[in-house]
């Protein structure tokens, strides 16, 4: 080893004519800095203090000479020179010996965020600008590699250079990951919020080998957050509503959107002190698809309470008798099959799943809201209650079609 650890007997010895200087990394200045360069190249007789939570890396001519990773005070005057003859020649009096970098050993945290909004070419919205941020935890696991790459190859000398490189790397890989998700998995911007956890993991899987070459290990990515422009966010909220109702067919979606628009107008009317309570009990959960236009017309007309009666479902399988369920939250009558209260938005009942398409269907539904498959709930032979999807009656064994 190039630098001997000072023993208690040699400690503090060797004041040269120039006087010994002791270098250490000031705790107060440490913070989240990943590295620190001793302000001048060290010379003969200097002392270097190494703490538990840091490495000291000696660097010269583009190469790492040695790494001190055990806490202690190391004196250059106790150099064990014979191992490095070239250095020996250079080490004369006031000649600089090497640059010394301190590197943190503990886990550090950073935040990443796109200062510039991310441009994401989306299949639904075209070019949209996303703002993405999150946190990451990282650690220097190989100080030799770290210093060789950042100082030797990149010529960075400040901790800030390294950290901002790291953040750029995170953003770059995130950009890649989102691009691949879009092309390989056909994910649209609207799908992203549902896959944040997976995106974090994909990001980790890409970053690890990427920054591993720099002696860094990314320990975690957390709190990934994707912000959409306002109009896109609105569509996401609408889609969430559609998803909750199990609507996948474009016609149903359109009908739902139209309904939402109508609802907004109705709310406005209410505000003006108009037809109070209008629209309460109107079959929404009914799963759309049915004469939505007519329904809206009814809602907007004064005295819309009677609207229910006017609603003739377009398809028999969507015939949900109105007033089948009371909202547990506000008491409004809600049509059987609704997943959400049309008045207060509270969630209604538990669900079953469609034996054909697996969509979640509200308990008691006779038909799947998504594909229209008949949901058998009782045995046609003995009337015993059946689990949805059951092939045989558990009581009498009758085969269920």
């Amino acid at each position: 080893m190039l630098f001997d650890k000072k023993t208690p007997t040699t400690n503090g010895s060797g004041k040269s004519m120039l006087g010994a200087t002791t270098f250490m990394w000031d705790d107060a200045a440490k913070g989240d800095k990943v590295m620190f360069r001793i302000p001048r190249n060290i010379i003969w007789n200097d002392n270097v203090v190494v703490r538990e939570d840091e490495y000291a890396v000696f660097f010269r001519d583009g190469k790492v000479l040695t790494v001190l990773d055990k806490a202690g005070r190391y004196g250059l005057s106790s150099l064990n020179i014979p191992v490095l003859t070239e250095l020996q020649r250079k080490v004369t009096g006031t000649q600089p010996v090497a640059e010394v970098y301190y590197v943190q050993r503990r886990e550090l945290r950073g935040k990443f965020g796109s200062a510039e909004a991310f441009t994401f070419r989306d299949q639904d919205f075209g070019m949209i600008r996303l703002r993405i941020f999150g946190q990451f935890a990282y650690k220097v696991v190989d100080p030799v590699q770290f210093i060789t790459q950042f100082i030797g190859t990149k010529g960075f000398s400040e901790s800030d250079n390294v950290i901002s490189w790291l953040k750029d790397e995170v953003i770059m890989q995130l950009n890649d990951a989102l691009g691949e998700l879009k092309t390989q998995k056909q994910l649209s911007a609207l799908d992203l919020p549902a896959y944040l956890e997976e995106i974090e993991q994909i990001l980790l899987s890409k970053l690890e080998p990427d920054v591993g070459e720099y002696g860094i290990k990314i320990m975690r990515i957390a709190g990934l957050n994707i912000n959409f422009p306002e109009d896109v966010q609105k569509s996401i909220d609408e889609r969430a509503g559609i998803g909750a109702l199990g609507l996948t067919d474009q016609k149903q979606k359109d009908a739902y959107m139209a309904f939402q628009a109508g609802k907004a107008m109705r709310d406005a009317a209410k505000q003006e002190g108009g037809a109070a309570g209008a629209g309460a009990g109107i079959g929404v959960g009914m799963g759309a698809g049915m004469g939505m236009g007519m329904m809206m017309a009814n809602q907007m007309a004064p005295g819309a309470q009677q609207a229910q009666q006017a609603q003739q479902p377009a398809h028999p399988q969507q015939a949900a008798p109105p007033g089948g369920i009371k909202c547990p939250s506000c008491g409004t009558d809600v049509p059987t099959g609704s997943k959400f209260c049309i008045n207060c938005g509270a969630k209604i009942g538990g669900g079953m799943s469609c034996p054909k398409c697996n969509a979640e269907v509200p308990k008691g539904s006779r038909f799947c809201l998504n594909c229209g498959t008949k949901m058998v709930t009782s045995c046609p032979q003995c009337n015993a209650e059946l689990q949805s999807g059951a092939k045989f009656c558990p009581d009498c064994g009758t085969k269920i079609e």
Binding site: L181, K185, Y195, Q201, S205, P209, R220
Partner: protein, 176 residues
Amino acid sequence: MNDLRSKVEEDRGIVKQIELLIPGFHGYREREDIRAADSLLRQQLANKMKEINSIFEQCREELGRAMDLTLISNMGNIVKFSRLIENRIRHAEQGYTGISADFRIEEEELNTLYEWDLALLQTIDPIHTMAGELLNSILVDDGTAFRKMRILKNTLNEFNSTLNKRMTKIAGLEVT
């Protein structure tokens, strides 16, 4: 010949078996040896866990490359958990303060420690093998990865709880 040899194998005590798994392990015959033996065991376990972790990381990398949205979160959980185990083993080593010289350890307690040590050593190699098999099934996409991940998770859980028991026991022997 064969009979005789298997008889000898059976007669090897737990300490003998541990010695076979950790070269240089002298057992706990002498009270003063506990610290050295414990440290050897930890080093061995932590290093193996590190190797296993790098296989798990490769698994995640492959899943990420394949954009596998159904498995990657589960894999992430396995990586997280197994890193946690590795850290617990290593960190505990640092906090270790030693055993009092006049602390009397009952034979029964010692035997329990031996059993846990052996269980840890005997579980970690299969985990290594399973990790390799998981990586293979991810690479060839044979559809068994999910099931393998579930079994791995359970095995890691068992390993972790054996480790817990052992750590608690050793901590009880520590002098503060």
